[in-house]
């Protein structure tokens, strides 16, 4: 199989989604601030959307279902980003920091 026909192969998309998912997990673990963790979680959501769309294109009998599901993922991700960022701003108002190590009021 030629390298120029990679876009007609299901595994290409699955590999890309796996790599994006791994990068999202890496960012989620290593980031110090809440905003950085939110950016990493967006990467994870993009990876799951790519998986849905790839299976939708290559294996599913009805190609509209995966697209509709991806649209719903986008809507939920937008809501999640809005809520997460407003929580971040509220945390910054109360603590004057968004560093995860300084937010230890609930630590046992």
């Amino acid at each position: 199989m030629s390298i120029l026909s990679l876009h007609n192969n299901l595994n290409t998309y699955l590999f890309l989604a796996a790599i994006l998912f791994g990068m999202g997990i890496y960012g989620l673990v290593t980031r110090r601030t809440l905003v950085g963790m939110l950016i990493a979680s967006e990467l994870i959501l993009a990876a799951s959307s790519i998986n849905f769309m790839a299976f939708n294109r290559f294996t599913a009998p009805d190609p509209t279902v995966g697209q509709i599901f991806t649209l719903f993922i986008m809507a939920i991700a937008a809501a999640e980003a809005a809520i997460g960022l407003s929580i971040t701003i509220a945390v910054y108002r109360n603590y004057k920091t968004v560093d995860t190590e300084d937010l230890v009021d609930l630590k046992g």
Binding site: S5, H7, V29, I39, N56, V65, L71, A75, A79
Partner: protein, 188 residues
Amino acid sequence: MNPTVATGAMGFLTGDGLAGYADAIAGFVFLIMLAITVIGGLIACNAERLVCAVSGLALCFVGVAAIYYYLNSPFVAMMQMLIYVGAVCITIAFAIMLAAPEDSQKNGPAGPLSGPLAFITAGLVTMGLIGLAVNTTFAVLPKLNMGGVKLIGAELLTSYSMVFELVSIVLLIAIIGSLVIARHGRSK
């Protein structure tokens, strides 16, 4: 397997010899978009400054939109550009300006899990997913339709109308809730 992507992207080239060239160009552009996605993701999860991370995230989302286009879904690609690149990245940039001053940012590892252990964790998850993708044979079912925008609209308002309304309510509640949370303490 299915040449519709090439004809969708390069529909103006209709000759026999040109179709091969169009396919090759489509494959080449796909490789570039793949590289853009991976590089953007690397910037998003590794950049020291959060502004650079958001720029990397936007780059990654542009690549993902191009990949949706290659997956026969130009409508979802457009929504990706509108919602993610246009709205989510801008919102995160605003949050960085409002709540994450660069000068008070600490450096160094963020806990016991960061550093090499985080790299090993993410690498194991990636390897597991790739192994799962390689070792599984997926049953390919025959297509019922081509999945155009018209069909998406019809399905969205018939079979999935309940989910559609619920997502609308969730978005409304998210808007009101985020306004209430972010407004608290502002009047003082």
